[in-house]
């Protein structure tokens, strides 16, 4: 899984640039499997990608197009997918995108994770988590994937904002 340290992410979107370039040959976040959430009015930036979570509710695919592959990455079998959107709607943190009839899920670049390599602040890290963390606290998140990502980042950012309130500054 790719995790993002919200404390040092600056929201530059380089991870989206390299992801869409590597997977689709062109730059557009709409084609990226990692998405940067920028909650500008509260100063939070964070990249969100598939966490290979404990629940893996995306696997409820009615066509069984999704399965667990190497490094616990979710793998799409393109031949079985009929663009039903179930996996997109199932992810509680909005980490499954959708473009031109196909879901977009982080595939860990088959091993050499490009976004981690280019991240200029090293906010992104790769961790091999076989069991995965639970995303059940986010199961009630409402709305489209973008809104669910925003909700996830807002919750993840609460301790950081608390620290600012207590007087923590960038170098402290």
């Amino acid at each position: 899984m790719i995790d993002c340290n919200i404390k040092i992410c600056v929201g530059c979107r380089m991870c989206e640039v390299i992801c869409s370039l590597f997977h689709a040959g062109g730059v557009s976040p709409a084609l990226s499997r990692i998405r940067v959430v920028k909650l500008e009015e509260i100063g939070l930036d964070m990249a969100v990608a598939c966490l290979s979570c404990a629940e893996k509710s995306c696997l409820d695919c009615p066509n069984e197009a999704l399965s667990i592959g190497a490094q616990s990455a979710i793998v799409l079998d393109d031949r079985l997918c009929d663009a039903c959107h179930v996996c997109v709607d199932a992810c509680p943190i909005g980490a499954v995108g959708f473009h031109e009839g196909r879901p977009l899920i982080c595939d860990l670049c088959g091993g050499a994770v490009r976004c981690v390599e280019v991240c200029p602040t090293r906010a992104l890290s790769y961790r091999d988590e076989y069991r995965g963390i639970s995303l059940s606290p986010f199961r009630q998140s409402q709305g489209n994937p973008g809104m669910r990502r925003a909700c996830y980042v807002q919750v993840r950012g609460e301790p950081l904002r608390e620290s600012w309130k207590r007087g923590a500054r960038v170098d402290s």
């Binding site: 530059c12 689709a24 709409a30 920028k38 500008e40 009015e41 100063g43 500054r169």
Partner: protein
Amino acid sequence: MSIYRGNSLRVDLTHRRIGRANTPENGIGGRTWNSVTLFEELKPGTDPLGPDNVLCIAVGPLTGSALIATCRFIASARSPLTGFLGDSGARGFFAPELRWAGHDQIVLTGASERWVYLWIYDDSVEIRDAAHLVGMDITETTVRLRAELHDPDLQVAAIGPAGENLVRYAIISCNLARAAGRTGMGAVMGSKKLKAVAVRGSKPVRPADPERFRQACAQLQANIEGHQEFEPRRRYGTTRIMDSLARMGVLPAYHYRSTVFDNLDKVNAEALRRDHVVKSKSCYNCNIFCSRYNYTQYSEGEGPEYEAQAAFTVKCGNSDLELAVGVSNAVNRLGLDCISTGEVIAWLMECRHEGVISDADVGGVDLRWGSREALLRLPELIARREGIGGLLAEGTKRAAEHFGPAARRLTAEVKGLELFSADPRGIKGYGLMNAVNSRGGDHYRGEPMIELTGNEALALRRVGYREAAHRLEDRGKGALVNYAEHLGLLSDSITICKNISCCMDAVDFDLAAAAYSGLIGREVSAHQLYEVCSHVSQVERQFNLREGLRPEDDTLPARFLGQPIPDGPAKGTTIDIQKLVDDYYREKGWKS
């Protein structure tokens, strides 16, 4: 033959009609397109705040690509502040989104009767009602649109109360605090009753020659990461300029009355970082991420950059940095240009100091140096045109006419545009840039930064004069400013951050040619790009001459002429602006 023709979206706000066209043939993106469009389509003498003014918002073929920091849009129109060609760029994330939606330029004509906003999702474009957004500041407008459209990733370029109320230095702002700040483009947008442009796009930018394009991107990245200022810029961004200018003796303390500020260590980059900065912030695809997020007990927000930091501290004689940060946040929300706003306040304070005006002349606001009341209240009054704010919203040049010749002598503007936060006498290239460039008193048209480096080899290579590497030398400054203008125009077309391309000298015409060639898959030479920039800079000059510009307008404010710098490390330095302007005219082939 045209190098690249993009898609131009034509929006007639009077008749609520949307059309599509090509961008002008002679241009390479961004400002080149806008300047040509305005020269061809605007009648001379058009009222800047009337329906016949045309507001162009452009990105370029390289915007939103993998090339670092191709993050800016350029807004251009006839300026309500100067009466000449106005344009300004904003960084952040709006520009790449517009490019991903497939639009390279938006040309806004006419004026709506009711308040509207423009909604763009790829090829879908709608003019929508914005009655519910009227009166909202830039943060409120952006947050509201993202919420009601159920899209936290929506990119919004908006005006605040200042733009709605036609303040002549109102901004268009995206990402809450990234502003197209100069020359009043927000007022033009307000005059069209256009509150915001909201955009989402999903179309990828695909280089036609991926390997060549990748090499250009890698070269730029190497230029940036190998630069000696790479780490300090990451740490402090533009705020580190304050200490540099103090060392050079060109700090504009107490509205240019002194270059020495006793409490510098309370308001400089280190103080800001230590006390108020909670994290770094980035514009699109930038490996420097030089912006910072501030958090104080009163407010929070992105910034300030050097200009806001200096304008609300040393220039106004204010040593309370937390106050200045709060003012910067407020000015961003209200939609005011921090440079012009700071100039208005600092100039009033100097007028009071000199006994030219009294507090009673400005509705009883305390105008002593560093006045908390002035710094907090005046931006609000200006943005809402309440009380004295109505006059101050006109800018220092017009306001000075009200207060008389003694107040006029203390202004610091060129062609109506207020100066940046540095004393032009001790940085002669910058002084010349302020005197001659197309938008008026401004340093960012192109940055003649080579004069600050002492790097004679670089100066020789770029402009042909070793002396141009030294800020107090006159020789070579015409060539330096001409080169800096070309590089600035190239940057405004690539839409790359000028802090990188110009201030760090990280982009030249060869690198740009490689990037253009890689992106469009045809050979584009450095010479071709230079020729387009030369041509368009002459078009911009023609535009201004058509609007009544005279050679005698190419000068510095009278207060800097004949008077030496009064104190500090550059004490005694004077500037012979006419000599510098003549040198520049020779470079351009113009007659005095």
